[in-house]
């Protein structure tokens, strides 16, 4: 079965001071099948949000997607689309829900008008039809009294409702793939669960694939089929969720798990990962995690570790895996 989304060697460059180049996304490859949920997890600065933006060719200038990158949607090369076709894909095939609904909604337009303009951008519909469709969407995302909320301005809605409205707008074009970029980070904990459940429900009812971007591993459990862990612009481990949680292969992933406070086991001290996230214009040599790795080997700082496949759809970028395989 061919994949819905196929990303190969995605590389995003930004000019840096003194003529250098910053490469916040460096050789990212991922695949997504229809109806599947892939979680892209990483700290801030890992490049995960940029990766998502790249799929819609929304990398903010002066950044650019380097030649040699390939992004295929159902076999169609997204990087060579003409503007009209690109517009059709944006929102029509790939939808995106941004992190902060407060800033992602135009404050001078009502929620309803932002919905209807999106609907009408992707299909022929009269004003009345678009309005009906919009109200149906608001209902679908669980907004009470959708007809009333239709005429409301974003600032008149509570945080949770705003996020739901944002999700509704992202669905307005009936996309096959939904990117959720940290959809709950800006919300209260109680609302977070609701939103994630909503996304789940929508995924099932619409048969969408979901690319869930998060920095919190806990969010991901039970909600994603597969997880890709990102560090310093690269994917360092990719696995089925259950396997990742059971036995993470990459030292970074292991450290991430260790740093999560748990309720079920006694914890005396939190164990953060020492050091800090490196800067995109000065990635460490060879393995990018080696300065902070607690299992570092001598060759980690000399040779770049290869991507080692562990099982179908699972891989890890680490020298330790090579040793073990042998």
């Amino acid at each position: 079965m061919s994949n819905l989304l196929d990303v190969k060697d995605l590389r995003i460059e930004f000019p840096a001071p003194a003529g250098r180049l910053a490469v916040p996304v460096d050789g990212v490859s991922l695949t997504l099948a229809r109806g599947e949920t892939l979680a892209l997890v990483g700290e801030s600065g890992s490049g995960k949000s940029l990766t998502a933006l790249a799929l819609l060719r929304l990398v903010p200038p002066p950044g650019r997607i380097a030649p040699g990158s390939r992004i295929l949607l159902d076999g169609e090369d997204l990087l060579s689309l003409d503007p009209a076709r690109l517009r059709a894909v944006r929102g029509g095939r790939i939808g995106i829900v941004f992190q902060d609904a407060t800033t992602s909604l135009n404050p001078t337009l009502t929620v309803g008008s932002q919905l209807t303009e999106t609907i009408r951008a992707h299909r022929k519909a009269s004003r009345g039809e678009a309005r009906e469709r919009a109200i149906a969407l608001l209902n679908e995302v669980g907004i009470p009294e959708p007809a009333v909320r239709f005429a409301a301005y974003p600032h008149e809605l509570s945080g949770g409702l705003r996020q739901r409205a944002l999700i509704a707008i992202s669905l307005a074009g009936e996309p096959d793939l939904l990117i959720a970029d940290e959809p709950t980070t800006a919300l209260d904990v109680t609302i977070q669960a609701q939103i994630l459940e909503l996304l789940d429900r929508l995924r099932v009812s619409r048969g969408m694939a979901v690319l869930l971007i998060a920095h919190d591993l806990g969010l991901v459990a039970g909600r994603a089929d597969r997880v890709a862990v990102m560090y310093a612009g690269q994917i360092v481990e990719e696995a089925a969720t259950a396997r990742l949680f059971r036995s993470p292969a990459h030292p970074y992933t292991q450290a991430l798990f260790r740093s999560i406070p748990r309720i079920d086991t006694p914890v005396e001290r939190l164990s953060p990962i020492g050091g800090g996230v490196p800067s995109p214009d000065a990635w460490p040599a060879a393995c990018r995690f080696h300065p902070r790795c607690d299992q570092v080997l001598p060759r980690c700082s000399i040779e770049t570790p290869p991507v080692v496949p562990l099982a179908p759809g699972e891989a890890v970028r680490c020298w330790l895996a090579v040793r073990e395989k042998r």
């Binding site: 929102g91 404050p107 001078t108 301005y153």
Partner: protein, 343 residues
Amino acid sequence: MVGGSPPAYRARRPGRLTPVSRWLFRRLLQAALTFAAAVVLLFFLMRLAPGDPLSRLAGDRAISEQELEFLRRRFGLNQPLVTQFRAFLGGIAQGDLGVSIEHYPEKVTSLLASRLPATLLLGGTVLLLNFIVGVWLGVTQAVRRGSRFDRWMTRLALAGYATPSFWLGLVLVAFVSLRWHLLPAAQMTDPLLPLDASPWTRAVDVLRHLALPALTLSLTSIAIMMRHQRAAMLSVFRLDYVSAARARGLTERRVLWRHAWRNTLAPMITLLGLWLPILVSGSIFVEAIFNWPGLGSLANDAIAARDYPVLLGTAMLVSGAVVLAGLLADVGYTIADPRVRQE
């Protein structure tokens, strides 16, 4: 998109309208107070400035001592200042701003009324020009930020702003009117126009006379509009909802105008309050050079003749307009930005 919500929704937020109307009331009161204070300032400013208007008058024409004395009493110039002020206030209450000294016995109010339309025409045209062209240029500059177009537009606009309006007016008159005979050099209408000329011909005639003064004023002040628009667009571009709109597949034009530009309207409207005083200052020079029969030239003449009642009346009118413009700008800002309404 100035919509209200259906009553059911409104009921959920019981105090939603009242804060706005309360604010409006306070703002109106503030404007009225400011205007009143300005009028008082003006009155005392004029009366306290030494110099006798009547002595000027006597120097220009042959007036007997008796007539001078009569005029002096007529204008209350021999009364103590406080009495004059009380008389002045009394007059205002009846809508009477007194009588002109220079053009005795014409009433100040009728003089103002006769000159106001010309200034409104000139000012309105310049405002329209500056807004339309200024907005378009500013937005284009923002879209093409850093390009040669952007840089050169900024330079030209700055150069225009640095140009004195009286000088530019003269240069334009010299070349466009006097040398190339393309447009008339002075006044608002052609005195030689036949009496039975059609309204269309009259209109065109006025437009031809309007062209150079409006162009002069516009070129020297459009920089303000352009820079504000450019800056506002650049700050909006950075905002998330602009790229969010793009991410939904909307056309670039839609994103630019309906999402980005729309959100610059609010700060642009506040410009209105700032811009009027500049227009007034500029029009004094321009109306003088082009002999445009408006309030600016009226003020010019009144100053030379020390015609205090007319001066006071004109200054009051203009100050009132400035205060009104500021008020309208604030109200417009509130309408344009729904978020502000909530406060």
